[in-house]
Symmetry: C7
Subunit: 96 residues, 7 copies
């Protein structure tokens, strides 16, 4: 199954970080905030500007991104949770 | 009876997913969230841009789509429930 | 008495549907939701776009329409109830 | 005293309708809703569009109009109550 | 001291009306609503439109005006109370 | 230390007025409203319009201004309190 | 790890000021307000204007800035706290 986002939307998979406290104790999953980090899985064609032309997207498939806490719509695809957000909800690309 | 959506609106029929928990127990209908998946039944001609020209629609009849949780207006046509939403409330097209 | 809507407004008369439950029992009027279906009685000349030109209306007198639940202003004309709404509150035209 | 509305504003005098219940009993003034019908007393020159040109008004002095329930600002001029509203708050012109 | 309003702002002095009830009894000051009538004391140069040109003001110093109930900012200049409001908050000019 | 406001922002120092009641009694500082009067300390280069050109500022360093009650962000610079506000929050320039 | 902000966003590191009361007593960290001062760590390419062209950024890496109290999204990168904000949330650049 392939998901093709519309306009300037992006399909994102959260990256579950190994979040370890300074003491070395691993925080149980229920106590953790949902990560604001993800990987771009699919990218829309871009929104149309006022002249009817596509605005090219700044992110591409595979990019690791940071997004704002309440960004996007949660969707479940084949049992897996994803987010679909507008590119404007993406704060930054992480280059490692 | 035929429903012709206006402007950039889309007539959508929800797809009732067979939602089965990992344990294999089927969730009764009353406990399920309404699906955010549907099929496009009819498509408007597109909205007019600032120059008075139609912006072509990105979805077409028969497309399987994902939409945001509170998208659209519920309408009942010949006893059946449908949603009429703006194309902008559609998150993605699913290609299977 | 003739009512001439301004700009992109439309005068609508609700269509009282014969709403019969599956059991065949007719729902008394007080328990029914107001129908979201109506007939277009009068149509404005269209709104002016940014260049000062009329945007032609998509609906015409006699059209059967679906509109969103809280669309329009209720007005009473010669004892009869009508709705005056913007064309943008009309979801679709029904062709029978 | 003459009142000259600015931009796209209109000075309106409510028309007190003879509102008689079906039983023939006249509703006392305190129990009546304020009428949404009025007569245009004065008309502004029209708003300026983005190019700095006046958008001509669609209503003229003497027009009988329908307006939305919470339209306009109430003002008292020489002891009489009037409404000053934007033309966009006028729903329709009544032609008798 | 001279006050020069910026952009499309207007300096206004409320006109304290002699408000006399029909019975002839003068309403004490504390029971009166603040008047919505004023005199234009100073006028800004007008706002800049999208092309960077001044939109000429429709009111001038000395005009008697009607304004909406919650228009403007109250300011005290040399012990006197004034209002500074945008021209768009002025409803009409009164010509006596 | 020099503060250079961005875009159409202005750095303002409140002017503490000698506020004396009619009886001649000086109001203690805690009972006074914060003054809405200030002096312009620094001025941004102006905002960019839709064509990417700077809109020239209407105020300049040293101007005495009136501003609306909740205008701007309070900032502390070297122990002193200032306000940084957009030029649009400035109501008028005072010329003495 | 490198963070590349999108559009007109800026990655900022708060500057922890040595905040000493007049009495010379140092305020403990828990009682302090978070500083509204920071250093620019990374800068986006600028937003696209209506014609699809980049609007150049006014701040650059290394700039010391003042920002409004609730500006930006808090993000944690390699255990360190940062803010990602739009350039429009930056009030001023501090030159020392």
């Amino acid at each position: 199954m392939k998901v093709r986002p519309l306009a300037d939307r992006v399909l994102v998979k959260r990256i579950e970080e190994e979040e370890v406290k300074k003491s070395g104790i691993i925080i149980p999953d229920t106590a953790k905030e949902k990560p604001q980090r993800g990987e771009v899985i699919a990218v829309g064609p871009g929104r149309l500007d006022e002249k009817g032309q596509r605005v090219p997207m700044e992110v591409k498939v595979g990019d690791k991104i940071l997004f704002s806490k309440y960004a996007g719509n949660e969707v479940k695809i084949e049992g897996e949770e994803y987010l679909i957000m507008r590119e404007d909800d993406i704060l930054a690309v992480i280059e490692e």
